[in-house]
């Protein structure tokens, strides 16, 4: 049946790799060779990118807003820290997965509170859970180390082979591989029937249930998966810095995350990655110009971005390259703006 074939081809078109995507990852791969002295900040960006990818899964695809995503980051971070500190699981990759699962359990349990209610309720509930965990961390300072955090974490070599070095080279490659693997998984998920049903739920939950979609079950599933991602990001933080302090749960971390995603754009997976790069670069740049007031400038950029609109900025940025291409080739240039940049 040829119509079914057409349907199949069209349905799969969305999940096909685009040239721009391949180019993106080639650029990422080139970075360690271009900036061999900047492993630490690049690792920082990768962690933030993974953390933001987690928020994108729930916000960009399922429409769940959160101001407390640091809760899962923190649980991942402390799980990895405690596992290493007490020598429970010494192998980092295994510890990473266990830490992710710990965050996932918390995500599953709290998802029932988050899925009900409207945006405002969700903001408050997520914020509340993160604050709660931070307070618990302070209360049980004998376990968490209180405000000093976990002291003396020593990381064992990855898979017993690759020791963490002081320049952060191992940590960088480790983080990059983890990010890429989880990105591939996320890409798979969002292009599945499950992922499509999330988009339907985000757009109109009532309509989605009238189609036969079990809305709550889907939301619980994606929230739980996102918690796993955030937990992994937190665990990477602890493993690559050998630190875990209570500010892993902090409100600023959750709020920054929202900023990063808004900067990069929601609902096309690359928003988190691009946002993380832009955010960290802006932070570096502004911190150099004005160490005390860099947050002011970040805020200004954010306001400008929201007022002007990201699409228009993309068009301005691409104006010159497009003009050049037009002059040389004499035809309309391909615009490299993400197609489904629905924010």
């Amino acid at each position: 049946m040829s119509a079914a074939k057409d349907v199949s081809v069209s349905a799969m078109a969305g999940s096909r790799w685009r040239v721009s995507e391949v180019a993106f990852w080639i650029v990422v791969l080139a970075c360690p060779f271009l900036f061999p002295s900047r492993y630490l900040i690049m690792t920082d960006i990768l962690r933030l990118a993974l953390f933001t990818l987690s928020l994108d899964l729930i916000l960009g695809y399922a429409g769940i807003v959160s101001l407390g995503h640091a809760a899962f980051f923190g649980v991942g971070a402390y799980s990895a820290g405690l596992l290493a500190l007490h020598g429970i699981i010494n192998e980092p990759v295994l510890a990473l997965i266990v830490a992710g699962l710990a965050a996932m359990v918390l995500g599953f349990l709290t998802s029932f509170l988050v899925i009900r209610g409207v945006d405002l309720t969700r903001l408050m509930v997520t914020l509340g859970i993160a604050l709660l965990l931070e307070a618990l961390g302070e209360r049980f300072s004998d376990i968490t180390g209180g405000t000093d955090g976990l002291q003396g974490i020593e990381m064992q070599p990855i898979l017993g082979q690759f020791a963490f070095d002081m320049f952060g080279k191992t940590g960088f490659w480790y983080s990059l591989i983890v990010l890429f693997v989880l990105f591939l998984l996320a890409r798979r998920v969002v292009h599945s029937p499950f992922g499509l049903s999330l988009r339907a739920i985000k757009n109109n939950p009532l309509r989605a249930s009238a189609i036969g979609i079990p809305v709550n079950r889907r939301l619980i599933a994606i929230y739980t998966l996102a918690a796993f991602y955030a937990g992994i990001a937190g665990a990477l933080f602890t493993q690559t810095t050998a630190l875990a302090t209570l500010d892993v749960f902090s409100f600023e971390r959750s709020a920054d995350l929202m900023l990063v995603l808004v900067i990069g754009g929601t609902g096309y997976l690359y928003g988190g990655l691009i946002g993380a790069v832009v955010f960290k670069m802006l932070q570096e740049m502004f911190q150099e110009i004005t160490p005390q007031y860099w947050m002011f400038w970040i805020g200004l950029v954010l306001v400008a971005m929201v007022m002007i609109g990201r699409e228009r900025i993309h068009r301005w940025v691409l104006w010159l390259p497009n003009l050049v291409i037009r002059q040389i080739t004499g035809r309309k240039a391909a615009v490299a703006v993400p197609e489904t940049d629905a924010s």
Partner: protein, 250 residues
């Protein structure tokens, strides 16, 4: 004849306002049943009660003899009770292919499939293609729904409901707002619905009702006023009074 959809003394109030009063409705298997009534008669509330968006204060709802009163919305759909929407509730930034794909995936139990990509399951693809071609949407299957002509959107609306392979289909004003030139396609699609699908039509347009329905229930102030064959309902003095009193388009 057996009732495939039945309500027993359904009641619903909003505050002190009774919007559904002791409504007992029987829709026979294979029927083309119309539910009509003036504005504010409570037709929308009846749909919301039947589909599970609202919970009744009292009374039961039975689908093929089974009590579905406490079932969630999506579970009723999977049991075979599907609906169309009166105002546009389609996914503007999805394509017809994706929209139908959603419904077909859920019906075949593949909707939770997070590992296989869309388009990789033969049974799903074939069913999507079948529905799209039946509703003349194959040629526009990759266009965004928002860009489709209104008539095509209404067809897609019916197609999504049919994709759930319902045994009872609630049609909520299928031709509302469709320009005269595109009306014919909608009416043809409604007329061509398979006979094994029982249809409950909620409609204002009396031409459509009388050309389509073999049984009519008239709802006034949330209660059943008259029920019967179209000719009987048309002659009924109470019905005339309601519609003439309203000065409506009867």
């Amino acid at each position: 004849m057996t009732a495939v959809l039945e309500t027993r003394e359904l009641q619903k109030s909003f505050g002190g306002l009774k919007v559904t009063r002791d409504l007992s409705l029987r829709v026979e298997r294979g029927a083309r049943h119309a539910l009509i009534g003036p504005n504010g008669a409570g037709k929308t509330t009846v749909i919301n009660l039947l589909t599970g968006v609202l919970q009744p204060d009292a009374g039961r709802i039975l689908l093929e003899g089974q009590d579905i009163t406490d079932l969630a919305v999506h579970k009723r759909v999977l049991r075979g009770l599907s609906r169309t929407f009166q105002i546009n509730q389609l996914y503007a930034d999805l394509t017809p292919l994706e929209t139908i794909g959603l419904a077909v995936s859920e019906r075949l139990g593949r909707g939770g499939d997070w590992w296989r990509r869309m388009g990789t399951r033969g049974d799903v693809n074939e069913e999507i293609a079948d529905i799209l071609s039946r509703f003349h949407l194959l040629d526009v299957m990759n266009e965004l729904t928002a860009t489709l002509p209104y008539g095509k959107q209404r067809l897609l609306e019916i197609a999504v409901a049919i994709a759930a392979r319902p045994r009872v289909l609630l049609l909520d004003e299928p031709a509302a707002g469709v320009p005269e030139s595109e009306r014919h396609d909608i009416l043809a699609a409604v007329a061509a619905l398979p006979r094994d699908v029982t249809v409950l039509l909620i409609e204002h347009d009396m031409d459509l009702v009388f050309s389509f329905a073999d049984r009519i229930s008239v709802l006034v102030n949330g209660a059943m006023l008259v029920e019967g064959a179209p000719e009987a309902v048309a002659r009924d003095p109470q019905v005339k009074a309601v519609y003439l009193g309203e000065g409506a388009d009867a």
